[in-house]
């Protein structure tokens, strides 16, 4: 749709400040974060990070933060008529490059296929503004990207006015072309240099009214889809760096074990293809011509291992400690006639391993280092690696590559840090990758936790709902997203205090349940932990929703209508109604099958999920080789309201992925801890959802815009889906499930791989299994 220059300045709309930067081609910018609407705050206080001194030289950062160009994101318009933008975020599959391109397309009136979005290298001046987490990319970049694009369009119009000799008011823009009176036209490419500025200037702009959106809110395919389906999409291990040969680490048999000695270093160094073998802090690193030869070398190493940080630990030990640490409830003993639901749930360790394992390329020289990896916190990575190497941060270049999934893993930079250490020790560049088995056993886990929920009710009202969540500590040393940090900044942030703060800020009870308290207690252990497509919500909210079902049953009400009655928010009620109606809530189903329904609020959004499950023996007993079949989720209906869906097709994709995760964490995907190590070592041990677990019927309904501001999407559906599946299971079997994943207590569904050598040999029978 064409837009005239004049209409942009509608009455009463907010004015934002953007910049035209001094450059030879049109380069525009805006401040990242909420500052776009309040330009004078460029030098406002830096949000308090957790224990900043450990990771940063805060003075340096404060100096950087006050530079006039700090916190800017910028867009360039080129003479070939394209625009480019380096997004200071990670793309790990969540679709933020596509949604960012859509924002530019909207305000700039440029077709989507002429916008290139790349991922920015680590930019220390962005502070916490370069962290991809808490599903907040779209929330935090929605306005700044549009402001910059609007500035660009304004400059192009001015340049066109000059060239076409017509006032801006008589010009319109459409698909990368400025139209003037009498059919005169000029393309953006032709104007790109003319519209550039010799000096950096601030430009006030107003943004397009939502009623005139033609791109935002319309379903679009991903801009990197062609690269993905042709195999051309480049991940960290596909990047060509001269002499960066494959490298792998021989890891200990127990969590964080240590190297005492290596008996056969020389013999392993002499193996075919192997160039280097060195001991590093995490194990013994090998480098060779191919990863296959590295695997052989890792298997050949004879290492005497010292104890790890969880030597001898078992699940029973951790569980007992969690029970000891649980905080007491505060609601006093019940008056007469008041009834209570009191349930305690156990959530086992789970793996946030992506399909792309931990990996990074590192080229460390005496005076500088260069790193390539998919990183959600590249600045922290850069600062930490620089400190490890004894180099100034400015001597460490960190390139952010496309990521093969994250789910919490890529908030950390374990492989990048290790690759830097290995490269320095060997004095050569390395392409370091973790073996899959290591990725499960030594990689980060979502911590084990218990959740006790007690709710009391009387005379048709819920009087109280108390939840005590007790968890092995979650590592937040990567820092947190700016939304949370900004809120947390006013609060004291010791380590435990920080987790509690995050818990407080992210957990909500969507129901009016009287006196409601939710408290977190953590126990410190020696595990490598992290969030997993959300920090606490899937477990916390699953526990709550199961209690909601129990309350409804106790009070003789239908689970859907009960929720509806107690929901606090109209947007929540709307998604619940939508899921119930579209999913035919209450339809009659055979014994052993049932529906479950659940609601989840988070990230300025609401999701409702209706799941149908089949727990009949003919289904749970399905035979598929080396697979966990078990109860089958046969249908899922999901209604989602994120305020404004920038790309509804991308939002549907995020819901679909979140639902698959929710099914996995409810039913099948957990880690077994035994004698200081995790048993799972392959995707046929760790039962993430597979085709045979996928619901044959899936409906996702994206609600029309409500708030007009985008909310987060990447993690929203996991909690709703997990809870709905658990509730459906409870209703199908008549037993409230209290241990997750549900299959955890059953017989182990696989033969654990040995721990020494730490990785299995690759099979050799591939040809006989061709199909």
């Amino acid at each position: 749709m064409a837009a005239t220059g004049d209409q942009e300045h509608g009455l009463g709309r907010r004015t934002f400040l953007g910049y035209v930067l001094a450059a030879s081609t049109l380069t525009v910018a805006a401040q990242l974060g909420e500052a776009a609407g309040a330009p004078s705050r460029a030098s406002a206080a830096v949000p308090s990070p957790p224990e900043p001194a450990e990771l940063y030289d805060l003075n340096d950062l404060l100096t950087d933060a006050t530079l006039p160009t700090a916190n800017l994101i910028s867009i360039q318009v080129h003479s070939d008529g394209t625009a480019s933008f380096a997004l200071p975020r990670a793309e790990v599959g969540q679709g933020v490059t596509t949604s960012s391109a859509m924002l530019i397309a909207e305000e700039l009136d440029l077709p989507l296929d002429r916008i290139r979005v790349s991922l920015a290298d680590a930019r220390p001046e962005l502070l916490f503004n370069q962290l991809t987490g808490g599903s907040n990319t779209t929330i935090s970049t929605y306005t700044p990207i549009r402001v910059a694009a609007a500035v660009a369009r304004g400059r192009l119009l001015e340049a066109a006015a000059d060239q076409l000799n017509a006032p801006v008011a008589q010009l319109t823009t459409e698909a990368g072309v400025v139209h003037g009176p009498g059919g005169a036209t000029v393309g953006y490419g032709e104007l790109a240099e003319k519209a550039a500025s010799l000096t950096t200037v601030g430009v006030p702009v107003t943004l397009k009214a939502p009623s005139r959106f033609t791109v935002i809110g319309t379903p679009r395919g991903r801009i990197d889809a062609l690269e993905a389906v042709t195999g051309r999409k480049q991940f960290a291990m596909d990047v060509t760096v001269p002499d960066a040969l494959p490298a792998m680490v021989c890891r200990p048999p127990t969590v964080n074990g240590t190297v005492r000695s290596v008996a056969n270093l020389a013999a392993v160094r002499a193996m075919p293809g192997i160039t280097d073998v060195v001991t590093v802090s995490s194990g013994v690193a090998v480098r060779g011509r191919t990863f296959g030869q590295c695997i052989d070398a890792v298997r050949a190493l004879e290492v005497a291992w010292g104890p790890g940080t969880e030597e001898g630990a078992s699940e029973a030990d951790v569980l007992a400690e969690l029970h000891r640490a649980e905080l007491p409830l505060v609601v006093p003993p019940l008056p007469l006639l008041t009834k209570a639901v009191d349930l305690r749930f156990t959530f086992h360790f789970a793996s946030n391993s992506a399909l792309e394992p931990n990996c990074a390329v590192a080229d460390v020289r005496a005076d500088r280092a260069e790193i390539w990896a998919a990183l959600k916190s590249p600045i922290v990575a850069q600062e930490t690696i620089a400190a490890d190497l004894g180099l100034p941060a400015s001597a460490v270049t960190v390139h952010v590559t496309q990521g093969g999934g994250s789910f919490g893993r890529k908030l950390f930079f374990d492989a990048a840090r290790e690759a830097a250490e290995v490269s320095r020790a060997m004095g050569r560049p390395v392409r370091l990758m973790w073996h899959r088995t290591d990725d499960f056993r030594q990689g980060r886990t979502h911590p084990m936790s218990i959740s006790r929920v007690r709710a009391t009710y009387s005379l048709g009202q819920v009087l109280s709902c108390e939840q005590r969540h007790t968890s092995v500590g979650t590592d937040f040393s990567h820092g947190v997203g700016e939304v949370i940090t900004a809120l947390a900044a006013k609060l004291p942030v010791g380590n435990l205090g920080f987790s509690e703060t995050i818990f407080e800020l992210t957990q909500q009870t969507p129901y009016a349940f009287g006196v409601t308290t939710q408290l977190l207690a953590e126990v410190d252990r020696g595990f490598n932990t992290g969030s997993m497509r959300n920090i606490y919500s899937p477990n916390v909210r699953c526990a709550q929703e199961l209690v909601v079902d129990a309350l409804a049953e106790g009070m003789g009400e239908d689970p859907y209508r009960f929720r509806r009655r107690f929901l606090k928010d109209d947007r929540a009620r709307a998604v619940l109604d939508e899921a119930a109606t579209t999913g035919s809530w209450g339809r009659s189903m055979p014994a052993g099958t049932a529906q479950g329904i659940a609601l989840h609020p988070e990230y300025h959004g609401f999701v409702a999920v209706l799941a149908e499950i089949d727990c009949r023996p003919q289904t749970t007993g399905r035979q598929i080789p080396d697979a966990y079949t078990g109860p089958r989720v046969t249908k899922v209906v999901c209604a989602v309201d994120v305020g404004l869906a920038v790309n509804p097709r991308g939002l549907e994709a995020q819901m679909m992925g979140g639902i698959m995760d929710g099914i996995a964490v409810a039913l099948s995907s957990g880690l077994h801890l035994e004698d200081g190590h995790f048993l799972e070592g392959s995707w046929d041990d760790y039962f993430y959802t597979r085709q045979w677990n996928t619901p044959p019927e899936l409906r996702i309904i994206v609600m029309p815009p409500t708030t007009g501001e985008p909310g987060g999407a990447g993690e929203l559906a996991v909690a709703g889906a997990m809870a709905a599946v658990a509730c459906a299971y409870g209703r199908a079997t008549g037993t409230v499930p209290t241990t997750f994943p549900l299959n955890h207590g059953g017989p182990l569904g696989f033969e654990p791989l040995p721990t020494v050598p730490p990785v299995p040999a690759s099979p050799t029978d591939g040809l006989s299994r061709a199909y």
């Binding site: 991903r222 195999g231 399905r622 597979r690 085709q691 040809l767 299994r769």
Partner: protein
């Protein structure tokens, strides 16, 4: 060092490498063909799935020494040429259904899907709807959970080649 010759994406290649190195590493580390991905090296995740003489297989489980000079290996990079187009209909269906998220598993998914459709067709079994038992035989992991769109794309492309 032993020499091994095979046909890769339509052209003969010869590599000098130990015979027991699995083909995945010969493709990725020696020849720089990076479409096939590593996800396990165990024949489990199927991220490396490619074709040998038109059938799907896991190059992570095949020593390069097992290949004959006449063996035709096709990776995702060579798939379009097998139908003489810029994109195989399965790839087009993937685009039409916007299947990929992170994309890491997708070369393997597409190569598996093409072989699965052919195999089902040869067995006189048409893939026409989403709850077909054929899907239970597709073992490829997608940790982003794109399974549903994969099903839709396979059904859409099944009649197109």
């Amino acid at each position: 060092m032993p020499r091994h010759t095979f046909v890769l994406n339509g052209a003969p290649v010869t590599v000098d490498v130990e015979s027991d190195v699995r083909l995945l590493w010969v493709l990725r580390d020696v020849l720089g063909v990076t479409g096939p991905k590593y996800g396990c090296g165990l024949g489990v995740c199927q991220a490396c799935t490619s074709h040998i003489n038109g059938r799907a297989f896991n190059p992570c489980c095949v020593p390069v020494g097992d290949l004959q000079p006449t063996d035709e290996v096709t990776t995702i990079e060579g798939l379009p040429a097998t139908v003489g187009k810029d994109l195989h209909p399965m790839q087009q269906a993937w685009l039409d259904n916007d299947v990929a998220q992170c994309g890491y598993c997708q070369p393997g998914q597409i190569m598996a899907a093409v072989a699965k459709v052919r195999q089902a067709r040869d067995a006189g079994h048409a893939i026409t709807d989403l709850d077909d038992a054929v899907f239970d035989e597709i073992r490829n992991i997608c940790r982003c959970g794109t399974y549903h769109r994969i099903r839709e794309a396979i059904v859409a492309a099944a009649g197109e080649f």
